[in-house]
């Protein structure tokens, strides 16, 4: 499955979430939504306007909203609760573990303000740690859609499955490029671009950056496979193992701490099945900060440039015989890459 993608504009993933909720509301009478006082920002306000009788404002009380959702689910409802990820994946972490996942109830969480692209609100609001936690929770389904439309599809999909689920989305408008017929399936990673020189494995807005990096790599003859891991749990082992086997070098990219998130999941699967060199693009164990979204993505190293540079390093490691010991060197900045004879940056 591979298709060329073109930019259709830019839209925030949260909008897909908000619109997906309305679709669910239309389809199912028992879908209800809980508000955490930021309903405009996480766009549950769309549902609230449309189905005021099935919307309940819980206020700034994320623990309570999560556990109330569990109670509603135990009474046959399909409750969605949305807030910022820092507050609906972490402030309520214990509630998610016991009342939602151990209880195995039909609670759906929408976690916004994910990643550094949140912008000027700064570190407290830029959640970069929750993928790690959420993917350890038994029974949890964790989805990180790559754009507005996939967010909409994913929202509908988690509403239609049975069991706990979490969808992660962002604040800023990000490239919108998937189409109605772009395949999306819970639990399945999708190959968004074919290639077997290196695999770029990404989630969220980093999928587009990976497509851009792949295009740039193509300009110098490197055929990169781009994989959109929209479901992080359950993890699509097969697609990643195929990539390891067929490409022999992997780059992971995510708007999350570089540890224990998507990159960690890929590293685990690869080590267990088909060890190959991996380079990890993500936030390097620091907190975020204020700034404009694009500025921050640059400063924190979350653009196609880092993916591009990482791809060259991963391939070099593979080609030199990746058994070769690498002195823990960091990936160079794109701008620092030497220019090869073809006028393109090389590793």
């Amino acid at each position: 499955m591979s298709e060329p993608f073109t930019l259709r504009g830019s839209k925030p993933t949260r909008q897909g979430f908000g619109e997906g909720l309305v679709v669910l509301g239309e389809r199912y009478d028992n879908v209800v939504v809980l508000g955490g006082d930021i309903t405009g920002s996480v766009m549950t306000s769309l549902f609230k306007e449309r189905f005021p009788d099935r919307f309940f404002s819980i206020g700034v009380a994320e623990q309570n909203a999560t556990t109330i959702a569990a109670g509603l689910a135990l009474s046959g409802k399909i409750p969605f609760f949305a807030s910022y990820g820092a507050f609906c994946a972490l402030r309520n972490a214990d509630q998610l573990r016991i009342s939602v996942c151990y209880n195995e109830v039909n609670v759906k969480i929408g976690g916004g303000h994910a990643g550094i692209s949140v912008g000027p609100d700064g570190a407290t609001h830029q959640v970069l740690e929750e993928i790690a936690y959420l993917r350890t929770l038994p029974h949890m389904t964790l989805v990180v859609p790559c754009d507005y439309l996939e967010a909409k599809k994913a929202t509908i999909a988690i509403g239609e499955m049975v069991g706990p689920a979490y969808i992660r989305f962002g604040r800023a408008a990000v490239p919108f490029f998937t189409r109605d017929d772009t395949p999306f399936e819970l639990g399945k990673a999708q190959v968004f671009r074919d290639g077997s020189d290196v695999a770029l494995v990404a989630c969220g807005a980093m999928v587009w950056e990976s497509l851009v990096a792949a295009e740039k790599l193509a300009q110098r003859g490197i055929r990169a496979r781009v994989i959109n891991v929209s479901t992080i749990k359950p993890f699509d082992v097969q697609t990643i193992v195929d990539a390891a086997r067929q490409c022999g070098a992997i780059v992971t990219a995510e708007e999350h701490q570089v540890h224990a998130g998507l990159g960690g999941a890929v590293a685990e699967v690869v080590a267990k099945n088909y060890p190959v060199p991996i380079e990890f693009v993500g936030v390097k164990d620091t907190f975020g900060g204020s700034g404009e979204p694009e500025e921050l993505m640059e400063k924190f190293g979350l653009t196609w440039k880092e993916i591009y540079a990482a791809a060259l390093v991963a391939m070099e490691r593979r080609d030199r015989g990746f058994i070769g010991y690498r002195a823990v060197k960091e990936v160079p900045r794109y701008e620092e890459l030497p220019i090869g004879s073809d006028g393109q940056p090389v590793a």
Binding site: Q63, L74, R97, I98
Partner: protein, 302 residues
């Protein structure tokens, strides 16, 4: 040599109807014995809270207040959520005495793969266990969610009861739940507080003072009733008040502050916080059962 003795569970079960105090007393004695038996067999677990709240359970489940079918539990029913999950031995013993499951199963408390987990696990499917609990302060919110489901959506008129400990009230999330219960005018919601003034580390007022408790509950929008948690008439009056509140749609949730003694019914446990999280030894179980009206013949070794 251990002074173990054969544990026999009386297979009697009770029905659920208006009763006289002496009838409750008999039921409560049975539940307490079952608690002691299951705990001594388990070799770990919580004695104090369960024994202290037994009278509340006797009234709630066997006084006609909770509506349920013990033989087909998941049919339309009122809900009870044990927010203080560690007190589950009393819930298990109570449910067994309704006939929801064979009393013999009380032998499996805290054993591997038992439906009677150390803290309630909904995954095990024991009839009457509405939800998993064990992390304090969560059950009450779940109960609020259940009450909302009926009051605001389904309108089948079912009621939701929850029991929290008093140490549990130190968890802020309890107050989030309380605030929401009154915000949504959940007059179908009854919050029972097991006010034994004991928690693991000592007296609640020493560990972290929660008083004045009535004022707090009232300020959080509850109709508050205080009752001696070992006086059946007072407990009935408290539950009657809740039923009336709910039938009259008074627009307020009800809080019953039940003053109890931890370990009630067993002389050496009564009002002693040390008994929060211990099971009796076999020797202590023998004495306890004796005090609860069941004489165990001396074993050969003892």
């Amino acid at each position: 040599m251990s002074a173990e003795f054969p544990i026999v569970f009386d297979p009697t079960t009770f029905d659920n109807r208006r009763r006289q105090p002496h009838e409750f007393a008999e039921i409560a004695r049975m539940i307490r014995r079952d608690i002691i038996k299951s705990l001594v067999l388990a070799g770990s677990g919580h004695s104090g809270g369960p024994l202290g709240s037994t009278d509340i359970f006797a009234v709630l489940y066997f006084g006609g207040y909770m509506r349920y079918n013990p033989h087909d539990w998941w049919t339309p029913r009122d809900r009870f959520v044990l927010s203080a999950g560690h007190m589950c031995p009393v819930l298990y013993a109570t449910l067994a005495n309704t006939g929801a499951f064979p009393k013999e199963e009380l032998r499996t408390l805290r054993k591997y793969n038992s439906r009677l987990q150390g803290h309630p696990g909904r995954d095990m499917g024991l009839p009457g266990i509405e939800t998993s609990t064990g992390s304090l302060g969560q059950g009450i919110s779940i109960a609020v969610g259940m009450a909302m489901a009926d009051k605001l959506l389904d309108k089948n008129g079912y009621r939701v009861f929850t029991l929290t400990g008093d140490g549990e009230l130190q968890e802020g999330s309890v107050w989030e739940a309380a605030m929401a219960a009154s915000n949504f005018k959940l007059d179908n919601f009854c919050w029972i507080i097991d006010n034994n003034d004991c928690q693991i580390d000592g007296r609640v007022h020493d560990v972290m003072n929660i008083y004045p408790l009535q004022d707090k509950c009232r300020a959080f929008g509850f109709d508050v009733v205080t009752a001696n948690g070992h006086d059946y008439a007072e407990l009935c009056a408290a539950f009657d008040r809740f039923i009336a509140n709910s039938e009259q749609r008074c627009g307020k949730p009800t809080a019953i502050i039940a003053k109890t003694l931890m370990g009630k019914g067993v002389s050496f446990m009564e009002d002693r916080y040390e008994w929060h999280g211990k099971p009796p030894t076999w020797e202590q179980a023998r004495i306890a059962l004796g005090e609860l009206g069941e004489d165990i013949p001396e074993s050969v070794e003892a």
